[in-house]
């Protein structure tokens, strides 16, 4: 939206008491969220195999459910590739090693069970595998909840809008 148009809207809404009196839900988002662009992304750090593995792991961390799609739909693995590719060598090594550890762990069971074992000490990790889970989950959370899927479909976030008035609390029970 052009700044001039924004100013016009804001000025109009400020001047009009009637408009200010409208329920805020009616104002809604004046700028509709842009649809994510479907540009092809070329992997910069992970191999195709590694990226597929990450996709599976991240979808296990934030899966699709009845409410919304999960990390796979949000392409969180591609976000991880960009972030790691543009990080320092220590970070790159931790990811490379971490993927190796998860693979190793899954050899005699399944990926889901390996992830489960990696997650057991999330709040106080003591092994490299457990520390990698913390990093993997953080990346998944960051990627998912900053994606269009995470923001609009999962969280149903309705902000980042130009409002004429703030929808203040009108609940007497909160104000007693």
């Amino acid at each position: 939206m052009e700044r001039r148009a924004v100013l016009k809207i804001v000025a109009l809404t400020a001047i009009s008491q009637k408009l200010n009196a409208l329920p805020c839900a009616a104002m809604g988002q004046m700028e509709a969220p842009a649809a994510p662009t479907a540009t092809a992304y070329t992997l910069q750090f992970f191999s195709e195999d590694e990226s597929r593995l990450l996709d599976q792991l991240m979808e296990m961390i934030i899966p699709a459910d009845d409410h919304s799609p999960g990390a796979h739909e949000a392409k969180t693995n591609l976000f991880a590739d960009l972030m790691v590719a543009t990080s320092n060598d220590a970070v790159k090594k931790q990811w490379q090693d971490g993927i190796g550890l998860i693979r190793e762990e899954a050899k005699n069971s399944s990926l889901a069970e390996a992830l489960g074992r990696a997650a057991v000490n999330e709040e106080n990790p003591t092994t490299d595998l457990e520390r990698f889970f913390v990093v993997l989950k953080q990346m998944t959370v960051n990627g998912y909840y900053t994606s269009a899927t995470g923001i609009h479909q999962e969280m149903e976030y309705v902000g980042n809008a130009y409002l004429g008035a703030f929808p203040s609390c009108t609940h007497p029970e909160h104000q007693e």
């Binding site: 309705v158 902000g159 929808p167 609940h171």
Partner: protein, 540 residues
């Protein structure tokens, strides 16, 4: 600007202090040149409303704030022998008025009298009563919303814009603080709640810290500099990085040498008066880099005080997910970041074994990203659902507490470590005092105590010791009553160099728990009046 032109005043820095000074002096008829190391970021260049997924790194690498950190500003500082503090310097036309959430609190009378009332630090060389008319005037100029809450600890003006309406979580917090005997009031901030001074009111997008794209928050490029420009007396030099202040044979400032960072050439601007407003660290740096036979330790630094007494705020925070709001239908809670404020209250409950206090800022974080997702253990469907259900209950608040002014905390310059333009860079030396540690402990306990009165999931964010400064650093070119322990008089005038003034946060004698910007602007306004009067009398 011709080579030989001599300006009445050269102002170095265009933030809160410089903006006020430029407007006032130009309107008073002075011919003013302003040097700003950064350049203007136009409103249309701001990325405030961009969605994370439209930014290269989803905003996680501060892409939205990148325009405020021009050149090598982020890399040209060092910390030696320092506790966990950060000086958040920006380089942009308007300084931190482009990158703030605009909380504007007056100091109370007691905040100017730490020595008289508490036996620590020093008293300021001026009182609240002397500064009050300037608080009144500056609030009128910039437009401040809020109320007069009749609190001695937080004096108020009489003409505020309507306060910002409150969120559900803020009413619920007030229920808790009322029960504890703690005041919670509408925040006072330089955000417009109705059209004012030809600027539109806030549209409640929550992006205050990313730059306001319609100028509803006060900033100097949108509010002060156009007024200075309208007088026809104002010259602005952007991308002009001050290297040193030059002096004549009598030791009076007569020019400022600067690097034109566009052309990498060194230039000079001549002026009868120099006003330094580059923020606490940079102002000290400029004076310390201004060495001459007359001032071998730096300009106005014969007593060795310039750079010392660096202090600011220590702060901690908590996130709470209120049970009674969890699971509700998502609603737009962005607002204008914080809408309420908890003024200092520890002095109401008897004597403490430390000096100073804290206030709580409330809900200053974004609602877009669910912070609880980074704190909740687990994964899978249950984790995802829990994150979603908690979000409507989000409430956060943080303490901003006083840090003591201490000579042993200081900024110096390192001639062996130069910035991209060959200018010695600042080095910070800072340790929290015993009192700071005690105050930190008390403030974190108070956060937990208030949290315990709120039913919900609590995530404190503090570690094992204090951190600071929360962009509120002050004190390196302090004013004072004693010429041995201060640099400036109460008009921000250097005692040693009569035509040199320093009006940003570095002029503070001591700090309080309040955010410093309103006091910076009031002091700058007072100094501007003094300069105008002295010029009329031919004293400057």
């Amino acid at each position: 600007m011709s080579k030989e032109e001599i300006f009445d005043v050269c102002i170095v820095g265009s933030g809160a202090a410089g903006g006020v000074m430029a407007k006032e002096l130009c309107e008073g008829g002075a011919k003013v040149v302003m040097l700003e190391a950064g350049r203007r970021v136009s409103l249309s260049e701001l990325l405030s409303h961009k969605w994370p997924y439209d930014l290269p790194y989803r905003g996680l690498r501060r892409e939205k704030q990148a325009p405020f950190y021009q050149g090598d500003i982020s890399n040209s500082i060092a910390y030696a022998d320092s506790d966990n503090i950060t000086v958040d310097r920006v380089r942009v036309l308007g300084g931190r008025t482009l990158h703030w959430n605009a909380v504007t609190l007056r100091y109370a009378d007691r905040d100017f009298k730490e020595w008289s009332l508490q036996g620590i630090e020093e008293d300021w060389p001026l009182s609240y009563a002397e500064l009050e008319p300037y608080y009144d005037r500056i609030e009128q100029i910039i437009g401040v919303c809020g109320n007069d809450d009749h609190l001695e600890i937080l004096p108020a003006g009489k003409n505020y814009l309507p306060p910002i309406p409150w969120r559900c979580s803020e009413h619920i917090m007030k229920r808790a603080t009322d029960a504890m005997g703690i005041p919670l009031i509408a925040v006072r901030k330089a955000v417009l709640t109705r059209p004012y001074d030809q600027r539109p009111p806030c549209h409640y997008c929550g992006h205050c810290m990313d730059g306001c794209d319609v100028a509803s928050i006060f900033s100097t490029p949108d509010c002060m500099l156009p007024k200075a420009q309208a007088t026809g007396h104002f010259t602005l030099r952007q991308n002009a990085l001050a290297r040193e202040i030059l002096v004549d044979r009598e030791g009076r400032a007569n020019a400022v040498s600067f690097i034109d960072t566009d052309t990498s050439t060194e230039q000079q601007v001549k002026a009868a008066i120099v006003v330094v407003c580059c923020s606490t660290v940079e102002s000290a740096r400029l004076l310390l880099n201004s060495r001459s036979p007359k001032y071998p330790m730096g300009l106005a630094n014969s007593n060795g005080v310039v750079g010392h007494h660096l202090n600011g705020h220590l702060n901690e925070s908590v996130s709470i997910y209120l049970e009674e709001l969890e699971g509700q239908k998502p609603s737009n809670q962005d607002g204008a970041t914080d809408h309420v404020y908890v003024p200092r209250y520890n002095h109401l409950f008897g004597k403490n074994d430390y000096v100073g206090g804290w206030g709580f800022q409330v809900n200053y974080s974004s609602y877009m990203f669910p912070q609880q997702a980074t704190r909740l253990p687990g994964y899978g469907t249950a984790f995802k659902e829990r994150v979603r259900k908690m979000q409507p209950g989000y409430l956060s608040f943080g303490s901003w507490a006083k840090v003591s002014s201490d000579y042993r905390n200081y900024v110096t310059v390192d001639p062996s470590r130069l910035d991209a333009h060959g200018i010695p860079t600042p080095v910070v030396h800072f340790r929290f005092s015993e009192n700071d540690h005690a105050l930190w402990k008390a403030s974190t306990q108070s956060i937990l105590e208030v949290s315990s009165h709120l039913k919900g999931t609590v995530f404190p964010s503090f570690g094992t010791g204090p951190t600071g400064f929360a962009s509120h650093e002050v004190g390196t070119v302090r004013m004072g009553k004693d010429a041995r322990t201060s640099v400036l008089n109460s008009y921000c005038q250097a005692r040693e160099v009569k035509n040199l003034f320093v009006t940003d946060g570095s002029c503070f004698t001591t700090s309080s728990e309040k955010n410093p910007t309103l006091t910076i602007m009031a002091l700058s306004l007072r100094a501007a009046d003094y300069i105008k009067e002295q010029r009329k009398r031919g004293e400057l």
